[in-house]
Each structure stands twice: as C-alpha cells, then as structure tokens.
C-alpha cells in the first residue's frame, strides 16, 4: 500500500468516526433506557428537536456548551413524558414514543423556522491529544483528527460498559430490565430507577442532537437530522444491548456513510440521493440477518464448536422485561 492510499484510507476511517459520534451518544442513551426495561421510541424526534434547541441556545448565548446543556435538558424532559406514560400510566410505550417522534420533529420545524441556515457557533475543530496521537496507526486514527466530542464519545462507551458490567449500580440497572420483581424484592425502587435511567438516556439523545447541529452537521435546517433517530434504535438491537457492540454498530454505520461519499465521487453517474439512503438500507439488512433465526438454520451446517463460538459472538436477547410496565403489587 502506498503512502497516499493509506492516507486516504485513514481519512475515510477518521471521517467515519466523526460521522458516527452523534450516533454513539444517541445509541448509548437508548441502550441505557432499554436495559432498564423501557423503550424510548421518540429518538427520531428527540434528536431533531434537541438539535434545534441546542443550536438556538448556543446562538443566543454565543456559547456552544450552553447549547449542549439545553439539549440535554429537553432530551430528558421528552424522556420524562415517555416514562410517565409508560411506567406510571402503563400505556403502550411504542404508541407514546412514536407520537413524540412525530410531534417533536414537527415542533423542531415550527419553532426552529427563524433559525434555518443561520450561521451559529460550532465546537472548536481538531483537537489532537498529546502523546496518544503519536502511537503508530492508532494515534493518527483515533486521537489526531477528532475534536473534543469524538473523545467524549470514546469515554462514554467505556464508562457505560464499565458501569453495566463492573459496578453494583450497573448490576441493578440490568436487573430492573430483566427481573424487575426480583430487583424489587431485593429492595430496589424499580419505578424510580426506571424513571432515572430513561431520563439519563433521553439526555444523551439530546446531546446527540446538539452534536449534530453544533458540530458534525453544523447549523439548523428543516428536518436536519432526519433518519438518524430510527437508525439509532436499529443499532441498539444490532448491538445486542451491549455498549461495546452498540458502539461498534454506530461506527460501522459511520464507515458505511463515509464509504458512500467515496463511491459517490468515484461513480458520479449515480444519483447522490441514493447514497444518503443506502447506508440506512444496508444497516437494516444487516439487522434482519443478525436478529432473525435464518442465520441459526444456516449455522446448523457448521461443526458444533464453531457454531457455539459464533452464536455467542452474534447472539443477544433483549432485556426480558423490555417494554413491559412493572406491577408493584
């Protein structure tokens, strides 16, 4: 491989990481929510409304970080509506989430109208990390081109994984999504915890929205982040509700998007609009393959040991109590 080729490969991958960073926040947020047993289907609307709110708050105060805080608060409030409807009123989480997805998208278009294509503040670009950026291969790829949000994304993934699998709080989080009755019997307040984790997840989705409008897709326009919320929901399933695999899914989607822009410049005859849809379609195809049992049937032709290892690598079951309200009595 020549220096130029490896250079462009590096550019593709670094772009992929940047493309994927807002999704990492959204996907980890949804993973936390779903691990606690609640589906927040409003992601599409939450991300869009928070992208608008984050942009406007940052523009008005001329401070990007105020934008992120505002977006996180709105994200948490939308999640609070989901939590109230789902946990306290025991209504269909799908119905409430879906209505909020549409409502918040339209709200972002309506209230954000005066801010369409207005210049605004953005997160400072390119923030190489001293020392780490000099590690061969890994340095230039992960620690040289990114800005501060890219690194915050790495930290979030590691923190979520550590919390889930290495702390007592994480054990409880998984318990209230798998066996809420048992967790309740052990003295945990299932309802309060579900509220808390749903709102934390919503806040992360809000940050994802602001990450789009203040950084990776800077600015605000009508339906600015269309599609990303639905994709985030799909990636969580693809990642089997495990933060590391979910993050891998998000970065994989980033690679698809990044490749699409390369293919596009190589084959200018194909319509550009195809490439904006293609990664979404591919992602769903992968999801179909990994979550159906057709793959299992194919695996039956493999030797037993290989099959078992393969199954462990690709298989994941949703939290047992996902989407079901908890009956305390």
């Amino acid at each position: 491989m020549t220096a130029m080729e490896s250079g462009s490969l590096l550019v593709i991958l670094a772009t992929a990481i940047a493309f994927a960073t807002p999704l990492v926040f959204a996907c980890i947020g949804e993973t936390i929510t779903e691990r606690a047993g609640v589906i927040n289907l409003s992601a599409e609307g939450t991300i869009m409304l928070c992208a608008m709110v984050g942009f406007v708050a940052a523009k008005v105060t001329d401070n990007v970080w105020v934008g992120f805080v505002a977006a996180a608060i709105i994200g948490a409030l939308i999640a609070l509506i989901v939590a109230y409807g789902a946990i306290t009123l025991k209504q269909s989480q799908i119905a409430i989430g879906f209505v909020l997805a549409l409502l918040c998208s339209d709200l972002s278009a309506y209230l954000g109208n005066p801010y369409v294509r207005v210049p605004g503040p953005t997160v400072p670009p390119r923030f190489p990390i001293p020392i780490l950026q000099d590690i061969p291969l890994i340095g230039p790829l992960f620690f040289r081109e990114g800005d501060i949000l890219v690194y915050a994304g790495y930290l979030l993934i590691i923190a979520a994984w550590f919390y889930f699998y290495r702390t007592r709080g994480g054990l409880t989080l998984r318990a209230i999504g798998e066996q809420p009755a048992a967790a309740f019997a052990r003295g945990h307040n299932v309802i309060a915890l579900r509220y808390a984790y749903t709102m934390i997840g919503g806040a992360l989705m809000g940050i994802a929205g602001a990450a789009f409008s203040l950084d990776f897709k800077a600015g605000w326009s009508y339906r600015h982040t269309a599609g990303y919320g639905w994709i985030a929901l799909a990636i969580v399933i693809f990642g089997g509700w495990n933060p590391l695999r979910v993050a891998l899914g998000a970065y994989l989607f980033g690679v698809l998007q990044s490749l699409a822009s390369v293919v596009q410049s190589a084959i200018p005859d194909l319509p550009t609009q195809m490439f904006t849809v293609a990664p979404f379609v591919l992602m769903i195809l992968v999801l179909v393959l990994t979550s159906s049992d057709w793959l299992d049937r194919l695996l039956n032709y493999l030797p037993v040991n290989a099959r078992r290892a393969f199954l462990r690598a690709i298989h994941a079951a949703p939290p047992a109590a996902l989407g079901r309200p908890f009956e305390q009595d």
């Binding site: 339209d106 709200l107 309506y110 399933i237 319509p271 609009q273 379609v281 159906s292």
Partner: protein, 356 residues
Amino acid sequence: MTTPARIAGLPPAFYRVGAFVISLIFIALIVLISGASPVTVIGSMVGGAFGNADQIGRVIATLSPLLLCAAGLVYTFNAGLYNLGVEGQITFGAIAATWLLRVVYPEGATASLLPPPLAIALAIVVGGIGGVLWGLLAGALHVYGRISEIFAGLGLNFAATGIAIYLIFGPWKRPGVASLSGTQPFDESLWLGTFGNTEATPVALGLGLLALAFTIIVMRNTYFGLRLRAVGRNLRAAYVLGVPARRQLLSAFFICGLFAGVAGALQVVGMFHRLIPNISSNLGFLGLLVVMLVNFDPLWILPVAFFFSALNIGSLQLPLSFGLESSLAGVIQGLLVLFALIGHGLAQKYGRKPGE
C-alpha cells in the same frame, strides 16, 4: 405511588376531557412562543382549509388516501401490530402503479396502448398488489423471521424510498434533467377525473369511503374481525384456542398493504400525475396518528381524518400569511394524540371504576 385524593375517583370522562383541554393550552402556548396570536393563526387555518372550492378540494384530496391508510391500519392495530411500514407500502404501491402506466404509455408514444380508463383502473390494481407485496414482506420478516414489525417496517420504508429515488434519477429520469421534482408527468389522458377544477377526485374519495365502510363491517360483524382482535389481545391464548395466529397476522399485513398500495397508486394517478421521492406525503404516519386517536375504532375515523386533513391544508396558509412553518399542523395533531393517550391512561389509573 400514592395518588392525591383530589384527582382520583372522578368519572373517567373527566380525565379525557381534562387532557384534551390541556392539549389545547399547549397548542396555544406553542403558537405564542412563535410570536403569533393563537386566535389569528387558527382563524387563518380555518380560512385556508375552507375558504374556497379549491381549498376544500385539496382537503378532500388529502382525506381520500388518508382514509385508505387509516382503514388498513385498523387491521394491523387490532392484530396488535405497529405497522410503521405503512409509508413504504404507500411508496411501493405508487412505484408499481407508475411502472404500469409507463408500460401502457411508453416514453415517446402518442397515445395509451389501452383505453385510458382501463389503464388507470389497472394502475390502481397493480398499486394495490405492490402494497400487498411490501406489506407481506414486513409480515414475513415479523412472523417467520421473528423481527419486530416496527423495525422491519421502518427498514422497508427506507428501502422503498431508496428504490423510488433510484428510479427517478436512474431508469425513469426525465428526458434531459433528472431532479427531485420527480418523473416526467403522465399524459393528461391518464389523469384521474376531478370534481370541477379542484384537486379532489371522486374515484379516490369513493375508494377511501368504501375501504372505511368495508372495515367497519368487517371489524363489527365478522368472525374474521373477532379473531383478529383475539390475536391482538393475546396471541398465545388465541393460538391455543385454535385461531390460526400466523395466518391472521399475515392477513392483517395483506389488507393494510393493499389499502396503502391503492392509496399510493391514487397519489400517482389522482394527485401528482408522476412519481416523486416523497410520494407518500407522510400520509401513512398521519394514518397511524388517526387510528391511535380513535383508539382503533373505525367508526370515528371519518371525522378525525377529515379534521386532520383540514389541518394539513389549512396550515399551508401559514407561511404566506405569517411567515410561520406549516408544520404547525403536525404539532397540533401530535399534541392531540399524545394527550389523548395520556388522558386514556389517567382515566384507567385514577378514574372511578364501575361499581365504586
């Protein structure tokens, strides 16, 4: 959790009406935030929907496919399915109808190979078949692939949009320039007739009303409707009691796909007269909102769908009169449905139970 005694034990209707009033307050607040007066804005929307024959025609033109989608969604909702793939079913129906019209009236030809009324009828039938294919695909993924119908449907929505865009920019592109405005419009002989000079077509309205009437009868008076509800309420119990659950689920996808596909075909022959990228105009998602608001009971679909169509058309006036975004229609629709769901939940949780 404890309930404040003040709000518990009232008649269930109190909570539903209360939630409705709160949704109106929120709508007014949001209009105020955007710097306009709620009364003027609502007045302008009413004027924009019913001001003249053209506008009423547009409301009817929106209502017709919406009725088809909502009627179809009654089956999937009653079977316990969230058919978010309805958008893709509309789109694929529209693609199929466009394909047929391109076959019977090839590019460069001077007349249709079939008599135009027959060509239009065939296009609607083929559109229905296209919708059925897309619906059954989601159904098969759900029933045999054990994939959530929500994600199978959403994925197929993206796929249908992708196919439409590919066709518009690729094989079916306009001679000269391919653009987002869609394929070359069909010859006027292939346009569906309208009420006077309006956009509303009697055929589309008739099909919409027919689908709705059929659905009301099926859900109230047939064994099929009963079995569908049984599957929706408790899949396992229905299966154990001898209801062919898989067949029920697939038939729900079949009927919903059929109605949505016909709606897509009508968008092509009655509304846009060509294939455009957003041919579904989000009518599928709007249909989901309608059916959720009426709590899956088809009897109430007509008034609610009419009201929602009027909101959509009335809001088109907003950018012209006030420089506001027309998505206020979606905000109003969303808030009404959200608070209806919450009101329903409050009535169930706190409402006075019969016999108390």
